[in-house]
């Protein structure tokens, strides 16, 4: 008899969230330990003894027993009442379909808000959310955040001390608490997506699983009655529209493709449609946020039939507006590129020239590559080759290095 496969990653956040709620924990760490224990037991037992008929309920029971033992061992009063606990267990069984569909429940959203505590540095919020809600291993988090495992472990330990010092149980924030927390959550989700999207460390050009997690979180945030907000819709739109071309951004060998090498028919039409629907809902906002503007730019790219038909004037105008809200070097760099297409390479070059000094190390190769592109379009080939050579030298990942080397070869 065949039992439907359980998505362990999706089940992780659900189980941790349920245990945190039913045991009124302020710090999710003990619940995470319990779920890790239960999943490990399952990984040892199920392969040879078979998967139980209700795998999620099995995991819940084992995790709950482990958590109670741990609470007793710490001589803590075990804070739960059986009624709410049984309700939690029943909820888990009912939630099996939702887990299979990748949906997030209230408990997981409450966890995200607990992790994105404004008292923590943003990078710690992201690391904590990846561990607690998404169930990524230290190694996966380290790869995503471009640091080593020991650094991630330290960061998590510091973050957990902050959380453990709180006595209030994890719950969804309400009232005046909600808006600043939501800003932090949106930022953390975007950072999570970017880590998957923009060539994390190592040899891989992108980590689509991190992107998928971010999309799942953003959509859940936008859909939930308490956390729903036009900015959450705008973020979901942005991530879906960018996520739509994940499959085309790299070739079969995992190497970057250039935008003009994409087969646009292969872009994920379902994700684009979902992204545009979120963008439509985001229009209820009273003011445009950075997420609205970025989603608008992504929509221009996603709906252009060919690269040559891209409406660069609209994109450049959106970057102008974005610059007012987010004057970061990365925004200025993208804006210069957009102007280079909208008004011609000379205009782009002029903006880049004033920008080069302020670009952080991680963006210098991008800046030089953009410069090379515009020089080439102006027919200044020797200067373009020189800029690409310097870009290759400054590239921070092997994937970026390979891409730039290929670009240089294309210049002939």
């Amino acid at each position: 008899m065949s039992v439907a496969a359980l998505d362990f990653r999706a089940a992780w956040g659900r189980l941790v969230g349920v245990l945190v709620r039913t045991h009124r924990l302020a710090d999710p760490a003990l619940a995470e330990d319990a779920v890790q224990h239960a999943m490990l037991q399952a990984t040892r037992l199920w392969p040879v003894a078979g998967t139980p008929a209700q795998p999620l309920a099995w995991l819940t029971t084992v995790a709950r027993n482990h958590l109670r033992d741990a609470l007793r061992a710490r001589a803590q009063e075990v804070q739960f009442d059986d009624a709410s606990d049984e309700a939690g267990a029943a909820g888990v069984i009912e939630a099996a379909d939702a887990v299979a569909a990748g949906e997030l429940g209230d408990d997981e959203l409450a966890l995200i808000f607990a992790c994105c505590d404004p008292a923590l540095p943003v990078a710690s919020q992201v690391a904590l959310a990846l561990k607690t809600v998404c169930g990524l291993s230290l190694r996966e988090i380290a790869a995503g955040l471009l640091c080593d495992e020991a650094a991630v472990a330290q960061r998590l330990a510091r973050a957990r001390r902050v959380l453990a010092a709180r006595s209030a149980p994890v719950r969804l924030p309400a009232g005046a608490e909600l808006p600043p927390r939501r800003d932090a959550v949106l930022l953390a989700i975007h950072l999570l997506f970017n880590e998957g999207y923009a060539a994390s460390g190592g040899q891989t050009a992108q980590r689509p699983d991190l992107c998928r997690e971010a999309i799942r979180l953003a959509r859940a945030l936008a859909a939930h009655p308490i956390t729903a907000h036009a900015e959450a819709d705008a973020l979901a739109a942005l991530l879906l529209l960018q996520g739509a071309w994940l499959g085309e951004r790299v070739d079969a060998d995992g190497h970057w493709r250039l935008l003009d090498e994409h087969d646009r028919a292969q872009w994920d039409a379902t994700m684009i449609a979902a992204g545009l629907a979120h963008l439509q809902r985001a229009q209820r906002a009273q003011a445009l946020s950075i997420w609205h503007l970025r989603a608008g730019i992504a929509a221009e790219h996603a709906t252009a039939p060919t690269l040559a038909h891209t409406c660069w004037a609209a994109i450049a105008a959106a970057y102008d507006a974005l610059l007012a809200l987010d004057p970061a070097p990365a925004t200025r760099l993208s804006r210069a590129v957009a102007h280079g297409f909208a008004q011609g390479p000379a205009a782009g070059l002029a903006q880049l020239a004033s920008l080069h000094e302020v670009l952080p190390a991680g963006l210098r190769a991008h800046g030089l590559a953009a410069q090379a592109e515009m020089l080439a379009r102006l027919g200044r080939r020797a200067e373009a080759v020189d800029a690409l050579d310097r870009a290759i030298a400054q590239a921070t990942t092997p994937a970026a290095q390979r891409l730039l080397t290929r670009k240089r070869a294309r210049l002939g």
Binding site: V3, F8, R9, A49
Partner: protein
């Protein structure tokens, strides 16, 4: 057709740092493999041996009971974690059935033994 016992030898500590996704993948690989064998009528069953240790018994002095010690299994890098029993007509056929068993990964070993029935 004969029955063959698969002793799944492994280092249990290799599972300690897996992420949920990795654990899910392991479960799924075994599930697919055992369902395939079951559908072919080749899988008799599987059993997990508990990881927490076990006991070793040997004869004690005359008149006394056996000497019982804790099996030092948990620290060992070579533990029988579980068993499968499959049906096959020969060792060659059994090896062919086991060749794509997901237990064959890393330093794991499958010990294959024909069960003597007659």
């Amino acid at each position: 057709m004969d029955a063959y016992l698969l002793l799944l030898r492994e280092d249990p500590s290799q599972y300690a740092t897996l992420s949920p996704a990795q654990m899910g993948e392991i479960v799924e690989r075994y599930r697919a493999w055992s369902e395939k064998l079951a559908a072919q009528g080749r899988l008799v069953g599987g059993q997990k041996l508990a990881d927490e240790g076990g006991k070793r018994l040997r004869a004690g002095a005359a008149g006394a009971g056996p000497i019982v010690t804790d099996g030092p299994y948990i620290e060992s890098k070579d533990v029988i974690g579980g068993t499968f029993i499959v049906r096959a007509a020969s060792y060659d056929e059994a090896i062919a059935l086991v060749a794509d068993c997901p237990h064959l990964a890393g330093d794991n070993v499958i010990e294959l033994r024909r069960i003597e029935i007659e």
